[in-house]
C-alpha cells in the first residue's frame, strides 16, 4: 500500500506538484494498480526471455529538411521566450 508520503515522494521525483484532491485519491488508486501489476512478478519466465537484448540501429546524422530557414523559424515560433535569435531559459543557479 502506497502512503500519502510515498505519493508525495514520487511526485517530487517526477517533478510534479499535486493538488490536495490528488493527494487524497492517488494513494488508493496507485496502490490498486501496483497490486494488479505485482501479480506477474512471481511468474516463472524462460531463460530465452531473460537473455533478450535490444539492438541499436544507427544512421548518419544528416539534415534533410526542405527549407532550413523556414523550419528554424517554425521551431523558434514555438519557444516560450526568445531573446534576439536564441531560446531564453530561466536562471539555473
Amino acid at each position: 500500500m502506497l502512503s500519502r508520503e510515498d505519493i508525495e515522494h514520487l511526485a517530487t521525483l517526477a517533478r510534479l506538484e499535486l493538488t490536495e484532491q490528488e493527494k487524497e485519491v492517488f494513494p488508493k488508486q496507485l496502490s490498486d494498480v501496483v497490486g494488479f501489476i505485482k501479480a506477474v512478478t512471481e511468474i516463472e519466465t524462460t531463460d530465452v526471455a531473460r537473455d533478450f537484448t535490444n539492438v541499436n540501429t544507427m544512421r548518419d546524422d544528416v539534415a534533410r529538411t526542405k527549407d532550413n530557414a523556414e523550419e528554424r523559424e517554425r521551431i523558434m515560433g514555438e519557444m516560450p521566450e526568445i531573446e534576439k535569435d536564441l531560446l531564453k531559459v530561466p536562471k539555473i543557479l
Binding site: A49, R59, R74
Partner: protein, 473 residues
Amino acid sequence: MNILELTLFDAHKALTAGDFTVRQLVDACLENINTKNEDLNVFLHIHTDIDEQVVRAQSMIDAGEATELTGIPIALKANIMRTGQIANASSKILENYKATYDATVVERLEQQGVIFMGSTNMDEFAMGSSTENSAYGPTKNPHDTSRVPGGSSGGSAAAVASGMALVALGTDTGGSIRQPAALCGIVGSKTTYGAVSRHGAIAMGSSLDQIGPFTKTVQEAALLTEIMAGKDDFDMTSIDTDWKAPEQKTYKFLLANDGFDQVEPDVKDRCNALIEKIKNEGHTVDIQSVPSLQYGLPVYYISMPAEVSSNLARYDGIRYGERKDGDKLLATYLNSKSEGFGAESKRRIMLGTYILSKGYEDRLYTQAIALKEDMKAEAAKVFEQYDAIITPTTLAPAFKFGEKTDNPLDMYAEDLFTVSANIIGAPAISIPMGTVDRDGIAMPVGFHIMSNAGDDAKMFAIAASVEHLADNQ
C-alpha cells in the same frame, strides 16, 4: 450526399466520374461538422488550409492524376503532426503548439492528395479509453450522446461514425484505435509493430505505439495502411512489410476464451452468432485458452507507464509548449507540469517513476520484458496452427460518462482483449459485430481479429472475408 453511406472507393468513383467535386465532398463533411461538432466535441481544430488542399486535389483529378485517395476527407488524431497545424494531444501543456514538421504518414498521404480536415479530440497524450481524460472535454458517442466513444482515439472514431470525415487516423498503444472503432460501430486497425512509421506521432509508449486507420470497411483500412506503411529513416523501428496476401479461401481461427466469462451475455451472443456464420462459410473455429494472453494487461501496465514517464519528461515548459514561470528553474518545471498535465497523465508518470525506481526495476520492468518474450513465443506457436486469434473487441458496448473515471483499473479492463497485440507486436483489427440494446438504443460492438506479426496482408484478407457476415446480423 450522405457521407455515412459513402466509402472512399465510392467517393473516388464519383470524383473521377465528375458526379461531384472535391469541394462538394468536403462541404458535405463540413456541414456535418457545423451541425454536430458543438454537441459531439469531435474536432479540436479545423485545419486552416482546407481550401488550398481542395484546389490541389481537384486539379490532380482534372489532370487525370488522381489516386484512390485523392480528394478524400480525413481526420487526424490530435497527436499526429502536420506542419503549421495545432497538435496538442488534448493536453494543456501543448495547448497552442503548432507542429513544426509533418509526420511521415501525413507526408505519404499528402502525396496522394487527401484532404486533412482537422485534429480530433482524444484522451490526453493517448492515455485513456473514453476521451474523458481530454483537457478539452470528452467526445460523445454519435450513437448515444450519454455514452463515451471509447478512446483514446475517440474523436477520430466519432468523426467517421458521424460523417464529419470519410476516414480518420488514430494511434493505438493498447487498443486506442480498435476499442473506439468497436464502440462507434466502424473498422479500426493497427499493424505489426514498425510496419507504419511513428515519426511525427507524439510518443506515449514507444515500444507499443502504432498509427492506424478508422474506416467503414476493411478494404479502406487495408488501402490506407498500405499507403502509410514501409521503412522510414526517421523511425529506426520501422520495417518493410509484404503486402501480398496468401491465396487462401478458408481460414483456421482460434477463439481464445481467456477472460471470455467476463464478456456481457448479449455481447457473447453476438460473438457466438458471428462464429456460427464463419463456420458455415467453411472456416474452422477452435476454442482454447492461450494462458499467456492473460499477462497482457499487467505487463502493459508495467512497460507502458515506464515508457510514459520517460516520454513525457520532455514537457517541462522550457523549449516549447506552455511555460508557467516560477521564481527558480525548479519552480518553473513544477508549475508548468502541474498546470499542464491532467490527473491520468500524472498517475501514469508517477507509476512509471515507481516502476523504474531502485529496487523495483528488476522485479517489475525486467520481468515485464521477459514475459513479453514468452508471450511472443506462445503466440508464435498458436500461429503455426491458426491464421488468427479471435475475441470480442471489448467486454461490453460503450459505457456512460463518469462510470469508470474514479476507478482506473475498471477503465484499464477496456483493453483486456486488445492489449496483447501491442505487447507481441502483432497486427489486429476490430470490425463491426452488430449491436446490443442499451436503454432502448442499439449500441455497436466489435469483433477482434489478431494475426501473426508480419501477416498484415493476411489479417486484412481474413477480416474482409468475414465482415459481410457480421453486417447481416
